[in-house]
Subunit: 198 residues, 2 copies
């Protein structure tokens, strides 16, 4: 019923997470109303992403060269590795701007139920970075889910005999949230990990 | 901070209605995770839309030729014109599949406050279609807002002396909705336009 270009566009838009038929249609018609210049910019941006964006050979971050800006930067402390699940997490922490070390992207979390084993994510490359460099601290910043915790426990275990401090970022109540919206497991953890008021 | 391709992509995605910085970032990273083939399909679909989709010379519908499939279709009744605000509305009514006439897209609604006058939308072309063809019925299917009602009143008035029946689609309570979620104006209209139970 739709002209073929619109139909194709709707199908493409449905690839985005959380975008169903109706939202895809709404977006397609919005895109039809963009002026030609905006449409061209969009085409060029996707083309640039498709053709130029690679993964950093060291940490797995998105970058336009073999090695990303963070790994290339001499001011970043190469002895601290901050382990994240996906490249996007890097940008979340970079926005805060207080972390001066380097990153490592696992590209997934261990999840036996989904058939994702330690070999399927970038743990071996993390270990080899630690074996081959002067790394003395690994900070695990994976989400506090069963998969995240399993992955953190696994990494903690395989790094046990190496001279490296392994920590994970704190779980607890996020700031500015009303208690009633927090799940019970988080409340339990927040209670367990209570701190003395100094 | 982001590689330039990703930054450009986020900016493009922010052009969609309702997509802010965070949603655009989420979508950009989703797109980065598409395989090359899906990315290419997306580029091709936008290119096709940019280069091939035109507006029908008769009704203003989106189409790939000078005249849209509906206006070209000999089985459609050319004496009935269904007036809508935007091309997307055509597809909403086509999905129902019961309307067998033709359409006319106004591309907007009269809104003096926003500086949109009758001359700024496709009313003149509607009148000339009526003057030049065998049109005997015009159905107005504009949304029941101040702008929609103003536009319907205006069209009703300029068609007053022409031999054409002008109607508008019904307002009232949508099916399956709980009364408490309906605004008072709709409730008032629904009461005013009550029908005998036959």
């Amino acid at each position: 019923m739709y002209p073929s270009g619109i139909k194709k566009l709707i199908e493409c838009l449905k690839n985005f997470p959380g975008i169903g038929e109706k939202s895809a249609e709404r977006m397609a018609f919005a895109l039809l109303n963009f002026d030609k210049e905006k449409q061209t910019n969009f085409i060029e941006a996707i083309t640039e992403v498709r053709d130029k964006i690679k993964r950093c050979r060291i940490c797995g971050n998105f970058c336009e060269n073999d090695i990303c800006d963070i790994c290339l930067n001499d001011n970043r402390e190469k002895n601290i590795i901050f382990v994240v699940e996906k490249p996007k997490d890097i940008y979340l922490f970079e926005k805060i701007g207080i972390f001066k070390g380097t990153y490592h992207v696992l590209d997934g979390l261990i999840s036996p139920l989904d058939g994702i084993n330690p070999d399927d994510i970038n743990i071996a490359s993390l270990v080899s970075r630690i074996d081959n460099g002067n790394v003395n601290e690994v900070i695990l910043a994976l989400k506090p889910s069963i998969e995240g915790e399993t992955t953190m426990q696994y990494i903690k275990k395989i790094l046990e005999n190496k001279k490296v401090k392994v920590s994970k970022i704190a779980t607890g109540i996020p700031l500015g949230t009303d208690m009633e919206y927090i799940d019970t497991l988080t409340l339990e953890l927040a209670l367990e990990e209570r701190k003395n008021i100094s």
